[in-house]
C-alpha cells in the first residue's frame, strides 16, 4: 500500500497522493468558476435583453461613462492577472521571494482597480446618477396601491420626450391612450402596471453641488434626446460593475491571505494548490471585466 507512507503534512487524510489532492482542488475550483460564470450570466442576460430591445438607451447612457477610466482599469486588471499567473510559476519553482513580490503586485493591481472604481462611482453619486435616479422618478406607489376605478392609473400613454421636458405629462393624473405615437426609438413605460407619475415627478432634483463644470449641462430629464427608460442602463451598469467590484474585493482578501501564507513559507513546489486556485479565481474576475469594459464603455 502506498497511502500510508509519504503522507506529507499538507496532504489531508482522505487523499492518497498529493496529485490526487491537487487535482481534486482544481476540479472543485473549475466547478466553482462555472457557477461564477452563470451568476454573471444572469446579468449578461439582462444586459442582452435590454440592449437587444432598446439599443438607444445604451447608446445614450454610455456617454456618461468615461472610456479613459475603463481602459486604464482594463490594463490594470490584465497586468495583475499577468503577475498572478507569474506568481503561480514562481511557486512551482520554489521561488519564495518572487512569489511574495508577484502576489503583492497583484494585490496592488486589485487595489488600484478598486480605487479607480471608487473615483468613478463617487463621481457618479456626487452628480446624483445613483441607479438612474436622475433619469427617472419613482411613481407614486401610494397612489397605485388603492386601485380606484374612477381614476384609471394604467400609464400606457406613450409619453414623448418633449412632454417630459416641459413637465406636462405630470399634470395629467389620468393618462389616456391615443396620445402622440411614440417615435420608434423611444420606449414607453411598461404597458401594464401602476405607472402613474406623481405630480412634479418630472421636475429635476437639484444637484447637490453646482460648482462642477460638467460636460453635460442640461439635466438628463430635460434632455430632449433622452430615450425613455434610460435609467435602465444605469441599473444594469451598477449591478454588473457592482457585483464585479465585490468579487474584486473578495480577491483582495484572498490575495492578502495568500501573501501571508507565502511570507510564512507555507507554499512550495510540492504544495502550491492555494496559489493556483486563488489565481484561477483572480483570472475569472479579470475575464468578466474583459467583457464588461466594451459592453459599457465602448458603445
Amino acid at each position: 500500500m502506498s497511502h500510508a507512507d509519504a503522507h506529507p503534512d499538507f496532504l489531508r487524510h482522505h487523499f492518497h497522493t498529493p496529485k490526487q489532492q491537487f487535482e481534486a482542488g482544481k476540479l472543485g475550483m473549475w466547478l466553482f468558476l462555472a457557477t461564477e460564470v452563470l451568476l454573471f450570466g444572469g446579468l449578461f442576460c439582462g444586459y442582452a435583453v435590454w440592449r437587444g430591445n432598446h439599443p438607444e438607451m445604451f447608446k445614450y447612457g454610455s456617454q456618461f461613462l468615461e472610456t479613459k477610466w475603463g481602459a486604464i482599469n482594463t490594463a490594470v486588471l490584465i497586468t495583475s492577472s499577468l503577475t498572478m499567473a507569474a506568481a503561480v510559476t514562481a511557486a512551482q519553482r520554489d521561488n519564495r521571494r518572487a512569489l511574495v513580490t508577484l502576489l503583492s503586485l497583484t494585490l496592488a493591481g486589485a487595489l488600484v482597480f478598486l480605487g479607480i472604481k471608487y473615483i468613478e462611482y463617487s463621481h457618479k453619486f456626487h452628480e446624483g446618477w445613483f441607479p438612474g435616479m436622475k433619469f427617472y422618478e419613482k411613481p407614486d406607489l401610494q397612489h397605485a396601491k388603492t386601485w380606484d376605478h374612477s381614476k384609471p392609473i394604467i400609464g400606457n400613454e406613450p409619453f414623448t420626450a418633449a412632454a417630459g421636458a416641459t413637465g406636462q405629462a405630470s399634470q395629467s393624473a389620468a393618462p389616456t391612450r391615443g396620445g402622440p405615437e411614440a417615435e420608434p426609438s423611444t420606449v414607453a413605460l411598461a404597458a401594464i402596471g401602476p405607472a402613474g407619475l406623481r405630480p412634479g415627478a418630472l421636475e429635476p432634483p437639484q444637484p447637490a453641488h453646482d460648482d462642477h463644470a460638467e460636460a453635460h449641462t442640461t439635466h438628463p430629464l430635460q434632455d430632449p434626446q433622452r430615450p425613455r427608460n434610460a435609467h435602465m442602463f444605469f441599473n444594469i451598469y451598477f449591478m454588473m460593475t457592482g457585483l464585479h467590484g465585490l468579487h474584486v474585493l473578495g480577491g483582495v482578501l484572498l490575495l492578502s491571505w495568500l501573501i501571508i501564507g507565502a511570507v510564512k513559507g507555507r507554499f512550495s513546489a510540492q504544495y502550491f494548490t492555494p496559489v493556483d486556485l486563488g489565481g484561477l479565481y483572480w483570472h475569472v474576475v479579470d475575464l468578466i471585466w474583459i467583457f464588461l469594459f466594451p459592453l459599457f464603455y465602448l458603445i
Partner: protein, 576 residues
Amino acid sequence: MTTNEVTTPIESEPARETNYLNATTGIMSWLGTLDHKRIGVMYLVSVLMSFFVAGLFAMVIRIELMWPGETIIDQDTYNQMFTLHGAIMVFLVLIPSVPASLGNFVLPIMLGAKDVAFPRLNLFSYYLWVTGAVMAVAAILFGGVDTGWTFYVPYSTTGVDDRGAMDGVFFLTMAVFVLGFSSIFTGLNFIVTIHRLRPPGMTWFKMPLFLWAIYATGILQVMATPVIGITVLLLAVERTVGIGIFDPSLGGDPILFQHFFWFYSHPAVYIMILPPMGIISELISVHSHKHIFGYRFIAFSSVAIAIFSFLVWGHHMFVSSQSPLLNVVFSAITFSVAIPSAVKVFNWLATLYKGSISLNTPMLYALSFIFLFTIAGLTGLPLAVIATDIHLHDTYFVVAHFHYTMMGGALTGMLGGIHHWWPKITGRMYSEVWGRIACGLVFVGFNVTFFTQFVLGSLGMPRRYHDYSGPGWAQETTDLFHSLHFVSTMGSFIMALGFFLTAGYLIHSLFRGRRAPANPWGGRSLEWQCPSPPPVYNFAEPPHVGDCYDFSVLEWDEQEQGYHWRRDLAHDAGEA
C-alpha cells in the same frame, strides 16, 4: 495493491465497536465535525424539522379550505401560509433533502472513499443551510411573505411594505440566495468526490445507480443554482433600492423575471427528484434480490434528464404572455423530458419482474414511488400541451401534479431511503410492522388528498384562493368544491397520522430497536460491507469492488438476522 481481507459482514457482535457515533462525544464533536456521516445526520435532522414546520403550515391551509368562507384565517394570513409552506418545502426541505442528508452519508461509503473531497466545505454548506433557515425565520418575524414561493414580480416588488424596507420578502429572497450556495457547494463537493476519490477498481459503470443520480444532480446544482442566486439578488436590490429591471412600475419587465426564475426552478424540480430516483433504483434491486435491469439506461437517463431539464423552463410561462413562438418550442421539448423518466420506470418494472420481492418498508415506499410518480409524469403531459394548460394553469390540477412529483415522488423516495439506510445510520432496526402500516397510511392519505385535487383543478378551482364562496361563485360550485376540499383535507389528516407514526417508531427504535446487522437487506454495494454503524473512516483498507447488483454471492444468516458473504465462496469470487 495488496489483497487484504475484505471487510466482510461481521459474524457476531458482542460489544459495539467504535463507530462514527460513539468515537467522540459531546455536542461540539458534532457541531464542528468534518465527518461526512455526522454532517449527513445533522442535515437529516434539520431537514426533517423543517419538514415538520412546513407541514404544519400545510395543515393550516387545508383546514382553512375545508369549509367555504373564512374558516380559521383571513386572506392575508392565508397568502403567507402557502408562501411559507412552499418556500420552506422547496428550498429548505426538498432541495437539500436527499443529496445533503442521505447522499452525504452514503456517497463516500458507496464509493469506497474515506470522506467527501472537501470535508470543510461540506460543513460550511451545512452552516449556510442553517443561516438560510435563520433568515427564513427572520422573514416570518419581519412581517411575513405573501408572494408565493415563486416570488413573481410585481407581487414581490410591491406588497406588504413599501420599497426600501428590510421586510419579509427581502429576508426570504436572501435566504434563498444563501441556501442556493449551500446547495451549490454540496453538488460541487459530490462531483469532485465521484471524479477524484474513486478507489482503484471503482469504474464509472461499477458505481451504484444512486451515485449516478447524485452526480447528475450535482451538474444541476452547479449549473442552475447560480441563476436563482442572481435572480433573488436582483430582486432584493430591486425591492430595497428600486432599480427597475423586473418591476413594471419602474419600467422593468416582469416576464423577464419569470424567465430568470424558471431557468433555475425547472432544473430545481429535477434536483429534487433525481436523487430519490437513484434511491429507488437501489431499493428495487436490493429488495427484489435481482440484478438491476438496464443499468446503463438508468445511469444515462439520469444525465439525460439533467441536461434536458435546462431546455423546458418556459412551460411554466404559457399564459404569462410569453411569445407564441417560444410557447411552442418549450411545449415540444417538454414532451421529450418524459422519455428518460419513462425509461427509468420501465427498467424498474423489468427489474421487479420475476424477482424475489421482499415487501419490506423500503420496498413498499419504492413501489408507491413508482405508482405515484407515474401519475405525476402523466399529468405533466396535459400541462405541457398549451391548449389544455390554458385551462389548467394556476388551478388545483397543477397543485396536484407537483405534489404527486414532489411529495409522491421526491418525499416518498426519501422516506424509502431513510428506512433502507436507517439500520446503517443508527445501527438499529425499526419495527417492520409499524413501518408497513405507516407506509400504507401515507400512501392512502396522499392519494385521497391529492387525487381529489386533480378533480378540483379540472373543474376550475384556482390555486392560492382562501375561499370559494360568495359573489361570483355559483352555489352549486361552492357546494361541489366544498365536498371535494373536505375529502382532500381528510386525506391530509390520514397522511399526517402516518407521518407521526413514522416519527414515533423511528425514534422508538433508537432506544429499543434491535441491533442492526451489517447487512439486513442483502445489499451488495459497499456500504453494506462495513459494520452498522460504520467506523469513522469507513474503510481501513480500500474495499473490494464488485458488481454491486450481483446478489448471488450473499446468503441469509438466521442467527445474525442479516446477509453475509456465502461461506462456500472465496472472498474474491463473484468479483468482476
